[in-house]
Symmetry: C2
Subunit: 249 residues, 2 copies
């Protein structure tokens, strides 16, 4: 067996920072999903093997909590491991370390495995003779999972359509782009004075090219906390999210 925890080094390249100079949240989330894919491939339950069997991983929930961000040119590490497996879902956790190997963030994610043709979920306990379950590991991940907040706003703060550059090879809006489109709706100044401390996302529907989507948002004035829903034209919720900011040091 491979080690439970996979550790992947990265460096913050030019153009991976936002306008305040820190690693952009979208790139960080992408790196986490990349490490998830690599970790799974290296252990025999990744996309490479699954796609040959007509199956694919679907990201269901994601919670990321960051205490600081690496800056342009700095190295950092993303570590990931499988926390546990139930019949329909597996939880995968993450730890982000800075160049000195200090922990600067954690994340929790929940995934289902579906049959690409039938869209039916697969039984994860028995997947590949328990190959996935055998990697369950309880390294420390002291953050909460995704909460169940609802949005009361009845008017959208903005709309968008997934365009060519938003669409992944499945023809759907890329998971991280949901987050980026939400961040785009927030007041620009907040990224100067505050850092993104925590992001939660529950994905409930796939979104398609040039589909009309609306962003609904409740802001808690004092706490710089935003509850958000992306809704389809008929009102169906495509994702629920929560963004919590913290004043920069």
């Amino acid at each position: 067996m491979k080690p439970y925890i996979g550790s992947y080094p990265f460096e913050v390249e030019t153009f991976q920072v936002d306008y305040t100079g820190g690693l952009s949240f979208g790139f960080l989330a992408n790196k986490m999903l990349i490490t998830a894919g690599n970790h799974a491939n290296e252990r025999g339950f990744g996309k490479e093997r699954l796609s040959a069997d007509g199956k694919t991983w679907v990201l269901s929930r994601l919670a990321i909590e960051m205490y600081e961000y690496p800056n342009e040119g700095e190295k950092y590490h993303v570590e990931t491991w499988v926390e546990g497996v139930t019949r329909l879902f597996t939880s995968r956790n993450f730890r982000v370390l800075d160049k000195d190997m200090r922990v600067i963030g954690y994340a929790r994610s929940t995934w289902a495995l579906i049959d690409i043709a039938t869209r039916q979920p697969a039984d994860l306990n028995t997947l590949y003779d328990g190959a996935l379950a055998a990697y369950g590991h309880d390294a420390e991940c002291p953050i909460k999972g995704v909460s169940r907040s609802r949005v009361s706003a009845t008017e959208p703060t903005g709309t968008f359509m997934p365009l060519y550059c938003d669409i992944d090879y499945n023809g759907h809006l890329n998971s991280v782009k949901y987050i980026e489109h939400i961040l785009n709706e927030l007041p620009l100044d907040i990224f100067r004075s505050h850092m993104i401390h925590r992001v939660e996302v529950s994905y409930s529907a796939e979104c398609f090219h040039r589909e009309h989507l609306a962003i609904f948002m409740d802001k808690k004035e004092e706490s710089h906390e935003y509850d958000v829903e992306i809704r389809k034209e008929g009102g169906e919720v495509a994702c629920r999210a929560k963004i919590i900011f913290k004043v920069k040091d």
Copy 2:
């Protein structure tokens, strides 16, 4: 002195491909700009030294021509060198090589150096006692520079506003995002049947957060060639571009 040509290895990561599975054009263009920055920094005329002197490089023109694209998981290399220097502009060329070191593309770019406070251009021949000029090198780059096409369309095909995720640390629309917003306006199907063979961009104005921008486009029916302008509300041209597609093999 360092070698004239800098060579930088990359790998096509998950999420760096478009919906057809090949390296997305935006990521490729970003990698070129990253190698330009690294090459310049390593030779003493990059952002690190210049920003201490209150100066910054400004990308003026970019022409990229690709014959094929690496796929997800494949390694590739971007090579770059300074072609020549005049008083106000320097030309920097690129070569893209696949995993077997076969050339799969070239690019030409033109840059000016400006004083950040006064926006006045600097004399490049005398910069750092001719440090930049000393690196002029004539490796093969058999593609044309940016042409001078004009757009006759009087109605925009679409509009957009630069949002948080489009804005770089200068507070402007990132150079590559101009290209991505143009690609987003093209019919999605063309990326399935055709590859982006050549992209030309002439940058003429900086664009800002939530500024209203319109995309004007002439299409040459037979050749799958698009001439494009991004214009500001008053009509000022922010950039001119040409996108040429080629049927996929």
